[in-house]
């Protein structure tokens, strides 16, 4: 069972330390930190989530720049412990509103109290924010969210778009507002992480959407909620039906390959009208996770070209086209492309009038990097780079320059066309009309264009 639980900062300071069984020798946190920090001396490589030093097993996850670690002396399912760490991080975030060093330190008593309930003598007991609420007495102390760097998936709503109240997502689910009255609101986020690989000729090799519907409820009294999804939604792809769909409706219908639901969800009427009934527990949780491998329209088209331009010189042309409507804006776009290893210099040429774009040549990892603050739907951006080599190239440059890798976040856009048709809250009274926020976001998981 679990011997110790601790949270370390990025510098290795103890923020939280709790020993449950007193069987692990002293200094385990230091041993852990040294091991993780210098896992591989020469390379900036991360330690595996599970490892063993001198008979002590260390299991850790990194959340919001903090190490959440448990140690154990005995054989416990590592998946269990990893899930538990994730869940502890989430519960703590639910309680504190934001998860960072400062908020943990300020609320250490609450955190210790939480830990006491979550793990007893090394045995995980409960990690449901809802259940824990009745046993926890301390009240969170809010950390000023304004000066915090954005962290976690919720933070992406804070940038770019002004439509969301920025503080809402950093609110604790248990704290009362300073004004006294709690604001009644509920957030439903549809977060999709997409993986696309383009072949050199531009067509899609593999594509996948990895989506989740996150809910965060601040409603008092936990009323029942009806969440209606697309009517043409279907689950499970048998070989024949998927091809039918694709040919007839041209990708209009949403077909999920697999999905799973949170235990509070009732699926009684799901088969009839695609609505989910649930009584949301407090805190943030995933109503549904799903996966789609059906073909979809990728949000960006990436074209990359590398050409020889005289001896020991080459020119790179990168072009991105945003294939979505103009009222949507993608932000924090990073495009990376490995270049031949004998590249010495790179000079860049941005398009005229480019705003908020930066370029860089990373000598260590031998790649060029192009950062764009935002891309408006329908627009097109290009970058030219001139590479200087230390020696003559060996004919085939496309073989030596790597695939283009792209990272981005597009708020208020989802690739799968999975929609929340409506979100109904069981009414307690006529005047009860809580705020409902339904938000979509698409992120790149692995967005690769080969040369």
């Amino acid at each position: 069972m679990i011997s110790q639980f601790f949270v370390l900062s990025q510098r290795g300071d103890h923020i939280v330390f709790r020993d449950y069984r007193g069987e692990v020798p002293k200094g385990s946190a230091e041993i852990f930190f040294r091991k993780v920090k210098f896992w591989n001396d020469d390379e900036a490589e991360e330690a595996p989530p599970v490892f063993n030093v001198d008979g002590v097993n260390y299991i850790h996850v990194k959340v919001a720049g903090l190490f959440f670690v448990v140690t154990t002396m005995v054989n416990v399912s590592p998946s269990l412990l990893l899930e538990l760490l994730q869940r502890i991080a989430r519960v703590t975030k639910d309680y504190l509103g934001v998860l960072n060093e400062d908020s943990l330190r300020k609320n250490f008593i609450l955190v210790y109290e939480l830990l006491d309930e979550v793990i007893d003598f090394g045995y995980p007991q409960t990690t449901s924010t809802e259940v824990l609420k009745s046993y926890i007495f301390n009240e969170p102390i809010m950390v000023d969210a304004g000066r915090l760097p954005p962290l976690g998936p919720a933070a992406m709503f804070m940038q770019g778009t002004k439509r969301m109240p920025g503080t809402a997502v950093t609110k604790s689910v248990v704290a009362t507002e300073p004004g006294g009255k709690k604001r009644e609101e509920i957030f439903v986020d549809i977060i999709e992480r997409i993986s696309v690989t383009f072949s050199s000729s531009g067509y899609i090799l593999t594509s996948e959407i990895d989506g989740t519907i996150q809910m965060k409820s601040y409603l008092t009294g936990n009323p029942e909620i009806r969440l209606a999804l697309n009517e043409d939604l279907s689950i499970g792809r048998t070989a024949s039906s998927s091809y039918d769909y694709r040919s007839s409706s041209g990708g209009g219908a949403v077909i999920l390959d697999d999905c799973n639901f949170h235990e509070s969800v009732h699926l009684d009427s799901f088969d009839i009208d695609r609505t989910l009934h649930l009584i949301p527990p407090d805190g943030e949780f995933a109503v549904m996770n799903y996966r789609i491998t059906q073909e979809f329209k990728p949000p960006f088209r990436v074209t990359a070209l590398i050409e020889e331009a005289g001896p020991s010189r080459a020119e790179v042309l990168l072009k991105i086209r945003a294939d979505f409507s103009a009222n949507v804006t993608a932000n924090t776009i990073v495009v990376q492309m490995p270049v031949p290893s004998y590249t010495m210099r790179a000079s860049f040429e941005l398009e005229a009038g480019a705003v908020g774009q930066t370029t860089d040549f990373k000598e260590g990892s031998r790649r060029i990097e192009w950062n764009l603050k935002k891309i408006v739907g329908g627009s097109e951006h290009t970058l030219r780079a001139k590479l200087t080599f230390s020696q003559e190239s060996h004919g085939n440059l496309t073989k030596e320059a790597g695939p283009v890798n792209m990272n981005f976040t597009i708020p208020m856009y989802n690739t799968s066309k999975l929609q929340v048709r409506y979100l109904q809250i069981a009414k307690k009274s006529k005047t009860y009309n809580p705020y409902r926020w339904v938000r979509y976001v698409t992120q790149a998981n692995s967005y690769v264009a080969r040369l």
């Binding site: 399912s77 109290e113 009745s134 009240e139």
Partner: protein, 981 residues
């Protein structure tokens, strides 16, 4: 109900105190903590406690506040209680004496009306982890196991785990409680009980049988953390009860081996390799597999999932869990199917497993490790899903490496073109280590699927040329690794069939000129030397290459030089006649250069070769050749063996790779972590029940505490050391208040079973050094007396010989054992000396009225009762039957019991009631009353023993103790019962 109440309280408290905690952490010392602790207001106490906890969190030792904090356990405020509990748990083990003070308040809290208070009291009491409190906790747990609140029952289940550590002897009564809790209605309690079962009696599978059906039904409703454990428990139960499933993957692989083995004996190396690995796989899964190998196991497996209801139920109830959102649960459920489901149903675990690859990257890593094991045994399961294992740019290195390995395992003829396309892209990755891994994976694929060998070699050669062309310009660390790995891969592929890959070797050798990396060069030279005589083209170029090598010898690095010498020797051994002379010249030149080399390794190698192949060095020292000629044949043979030894053709990578159960930690860290238990032996349920004790803890002899105790190196049985016959001894101790001489013991304190005792044996006190700081604050105030330790040594102890020693010790506390250690053969054997609690009281003279009056004051929580039987009188009665006919048998019984107790304990006999009945044979109503006073606190301790039953039979006695100090009282009661029995 209580939830609302509690949050209401929290809310009201919070309103006035919002946002005031921050400064507590920053400077906790700025207020006077003792004053605040003694304040009348809860708010002040809270403030003080928070400051204390802040200090603890910052690593400051604030143990000296312990007495003041403990006082506050009695507080009515839940918030104060909770914080006190936190503090208490932190220091309880350090300050055992004071911690005992709080026990009475916990006892009181256990009957509080608020279930939260009851639950927390139980949890904290169990968490204090003192041996003396353990019996009290056991009583409390038994009571709480029947509590109306589910939360309290859940806490009781978790408390069982803590108790198990403290009271390993009480396993049976713990098991009973587990049994009670398993039949609970609340899923939360059942889940917690599963946890308790796993730590209290993991091998006591028969206990499950009556709950099995209900456990399966509740499984989906319990907490996910407990689900994982419960799945494992019921899997073990089903295996132990019914055995393995005949058509499961275990037997599928077993049977294929049998048919292959009998069918054709000439198996291709690859296939045997595969099947051997499955055999070892399941040998590792099942305990004592080797015993029931072959025939036995076939008998064991007389069940199929369709005919056996339990197996069917197990599969049915774990199926929905495959779609859990917790990857740990999915893995546990999948491993049940992996072991128990028929092969044709196995593919339903594949979807869920692949689905979990999309969860957090850390969970993915663990999952991939398990998939790898699944895939090694049953590649066909995952083969169609190879695309799921393609690498994402965001994967960390470990994940990438695992995915590569899986891809190589599941690659088939149909999927390999697509996989290869991917590999070609991976080679362009900037991470050189990963590229090297990819290159190695290509070689493995090529060895597995011969149809792609040619294209693989082509690609690898191209890579070698490319890498060698860039390596001279940019010299990065990882760069050479790829090149070397590429050549290694080529080497591995070529080895399968050197003759047909002759051209590859030639091209490699030709590239020697361009390749500068010494490791790569020496590899190529090795390949050249090894295959110098194979095929048609290589022998033709051999002279030229050898000349080139001789020419470049001086400029080479150490490892390359050695390889050149080796290669040259190999060439000479295989050389045809027409080139021999030429080769000998070259050889002589090389050896001449080598003997003058700076490195002694090279010089040694040169000397070695020149001796071994003397005929090659005739040019060097011709005069010696004649006298060596008679040895020539022998040398030649020797040389042939050394340089021409055939390599074992197929390398078995999986043979020494131990495989652990899926989903276990051992599977990830690749060693049997303590607590790892293989599956039970099929259909071994009864057997397991009987041999439960010895099998526990086997397998990790050095690490676990269990095995340490069982291996018998040092045991001390706390219950049975007390001698019942040493009357004189006992009374003489009465005056020696604190020190207790123990001799004439029938059971020795220490058994040393070490066979080779030939050195000194020393007994030392563990506490001798540490007594200054923590332990000396005993209640008696007689702290200045140190623990008396005999540093007497036993010089020699032969096997079977016993040595008696008299120890005089001073106990610091009347309940805490004294830790001793026996040093022998350089090893330390711990031993504990428990104080005899019956001598920590002094007789308290009082009359019957005073006794009854006092007894009435000490009712309720101060009273404990236990039942026991008394048999001693039977012997005496028999003895007396012959001599005197008309003795009062009741009187005899009363005397024998009273004398037995008085001789073993410092009590005062208050009264002895004789029964007034018509039948003289009836002893019911016999009653003894003893009174005493605890030495340390002078609290009275009243003991009442009531008899029931027939004179000629064993009597049922009820012993009762009334004392204000409940911890002491209960321990005293246990001691009294031990004396009686």
């Amino acid at each position: 109900m209580f939830g609302l109440q509690a949050s209401g309280a929290a809310a009201s408290w919070v309103v006035g105190r919002m946002g005031t905690d921050a400064h507590l952490y920053d400077d906790p010392d700025d207020a006077s903590i003792p004053t605040l602790l003694d304040s009348r207001f809860d708010a002040d106490k809270l403030d003080a406690l928070k400051r204390l906890l802040a200090l603890i969190a910052q690593g400051v030792d604030v143990a000296h506040f312990f007495p003041q904090v403990v006082k506050n356990v009695a507080s009515q405020s839940l918030e104060v209680k909770k914080l006190v509990y936190l503090y208490l748990l932190h220091y309880a083990e350090k300050r055992q004496n004071e911690a005992l003070l709080s026990i009475n308040i916990f006892q009181k809290d256990l009957s509080d009306i608020n279930p939260l208070v009851r639950a927390w009291a139980l949890r904290t009491m169990a968490g204090i982890r003192l041996h003396v409190v353990a019996p009290l906790v056991l009583v409390a747990v038994k009571k709480c196991a029947r509590d109306p609140s589910a939360y309290v029952r859940k806490c009781a289940a978790y408390a069982l785990c803590k108790l198990h550590d403290l009271l390993p002897d009480e396993t049976t009564s713990l098991e009973d409680t587990v049994d009670v809790l398993f039949s609970d209605n609340s899923p939360g309690v059942v889940g917690a009980t599963a946890v308790a079962f796993n730590s209290v009696c993991p091998n006591c599978l028969p206990l499950i049988s009556k709950h099995f059906q209900r456990l399966c039904e509740t499984l989906p409703d319990i907490e996910e953390w407990a689900q994982i454990l419960l799945i494992d428990i019921i899997l073990r139960y089903v295996i132990a009860r019914h055995g393995l499933v005949k058509d499961s993957s275990i037997f599928a692989s077993n049977l294929t081996l049998k048919s292959q083995g009998s069918g054709d004996s000439a198996l291709i190396g690859n296939e045997t390799c595969g099947t051997t690995s499955t055999i070892t796989l399941f040998r590792h899964y099942i305990e004592e597999y080797s015993e029931c190998l072959e025939g036995d196991i076939i008998n064991c497996s007389s069940v199929t999932s369709s005919t056996n209801n339990d197996v069917a139920l197990l599969l049915k109830c774990t199926s929905p869990l495959l779609w859990s959102r917790n990857s740990g649960v999915i893995l546990a459920a999948a491993s049940v199917h992996w072991i128990m489901a028929p092969v044709d149903q196995l593919n339903r675990v594949v979807g869920p497993i692949l689905f979990t690859l999309r969860s957090s990257p850390d969970a993915t890593y663990v999952m991939l490790g398990n998939i790898l094991v699944f895939a090694k045994t049953a590649p066909q399961l995952f083969a169609p899903f190879y695309e799921d294992f393609f690498i994402c740019t965001s994967d960390p290195y470990q994940t990438k490496a695992l995915k590569l390995e899986i891809l190589t395992t599941i690659a088939t003829e149909s999927s390999i073109p697509a996989i290869f396309e991917e590999f070609q892209d991976y080679i362009k990755e900037p991470d050189r280590r990963f590229v090297a891994d990819t290159v190695a994976a290509i070689a493995l694929c090529a060895q597995k699927l011969p149809s792609i060998t040619t294209s693989c070699l082509g690609g690898l050669l191209a890579l070698v040329f490319y890498e060698s062309s860039i390596s001279d310009s940019a010299n990065f660390d990882g760069e050479a690794a790829v090149l070397v790995q590429a050549i290694l891969s080529i080497k591995a592929i070529v080895r399968t069939d050197p003759a047909s890959h002759e051209k590859v070797i030639v091209r490699l050798v030709r590239s020697l000129d361009k390749i500068k990396e010494p490791a790569a060069r020496s590899l190529i030279i090795w390949i050249f030397g090894e295959y110098s005589s194979i095929g048609n083209i290589i022998p033709k170029i051999t002279p030229a290459v050898l000349k080139y090598l001789a020419w470049s010898f001086a400029a080479e690095m150490l490892e390359t030089k050695l390889q050149i010498l080796n290669a040259a020797a190999k060439v000479i051994i295989h050389s045809p006649e027409e080139h021999l002379e030429e080769f000998k010249k070259i050889m002589a030149h090389v050896i001449k250069l080598a003997t003058c080399d700076l490195s002694y390794d090279v010089r040694d190698r040169a000397r070695f070769i020149s001796r071994l192949l003397p005929y090659s060095t005739t040019y060097l020292n011709g005069n010696n050749s004649s006298c060596q000629s008679h040895n020539e044949d022998m040398f030649k043979e020797l040389a042939n063996h050394i340089f021409d030894g055939k390599m074992p053709s197929i390398f078995h990578p999986t043979n020494n790779y131990r495989i652990y159960l899926p989903g276990s930690l051992s599977q990830v860290v690749l060693h049997a972590a303590p607590g790892y238990a293989p599956l039970p032996k099929p259909q071994s349920m009864e057997l397991i029940h009987k041999t439960m004790e010895p099998t526990r803890g086997v397998g990790n002899s050095s690490e676990s505490i269990n095995s340490d105790a069982e291996s018998g190196s040092s045991t001390y049985d706390s219950g049975s050391v007390y001698d019942s016959e040493s009357e004189v001894d006992g009374s003489s101790d009465r005056n020696a208040a604190d020190s207790n001489t123990k001799d004439n013991q029938e059971d020795p304190l220490v058994h040393v079973y070490d066979a080779s005792v030939d050195q000194d044996i020393t007994i030392k006190s563990e506490e001798a050094s540490g007594s200054e700081d923590g332990l000396d604050q005993t209640l008696q105030g007689s702290a200045s007396v140190p623990t008396i330790v005999l540093d007497k040594e036993i010089q020699l102890l032969a096997p079977e010989q016993t040595e008696k020693m008299v120890l005089q010790v001073h106990f610091h506390h009347h309940l805490l054992p004294l830790k001793l250690s026996v040093l022998c053969n350089g090893k330390r054997h711990p031993a504990k000396l428990h104080p005899d609690i019956a001598y920590f009281v002094r007789p308290l003279p009082m009359d019957l009225n005073a006794f009854l009056c006092k007894e009435n004051q000490l009712r309720g929580m101060f009273e404990y009762a236990r039942r026991c039987t008394f048999k001693d009188h039977l012997q005496k009665l028999e003895h007396n039957d012959d001599s005197e006919e008309h003795t009062d048998k009741n009187l005899l019984i009363a005397q024998s019991l009273a004398s037995k107790i008085l001789s073993n304990a410092n009590f005062h006999l208050v009264s002895m009631d004789m029964p007034v009945t018509f039948s003289i044979e009836d002893a019911s109503g016999l009653c003894w009353r003893f009174s005493s006073e605890i030495l340390s606190t002078s609290n009275p301790c009243l003991i009442t023993i009531l008899a029931e039953g027939h004179i000629s039979e064993p009597l049922d006695l009820t012993a009762k103790v009334n004392s204000e100090d409940t911890a002491f009282g209960l321990n005293l009661l246990n001691r009294v019962v031990a004396i009686i029995e």
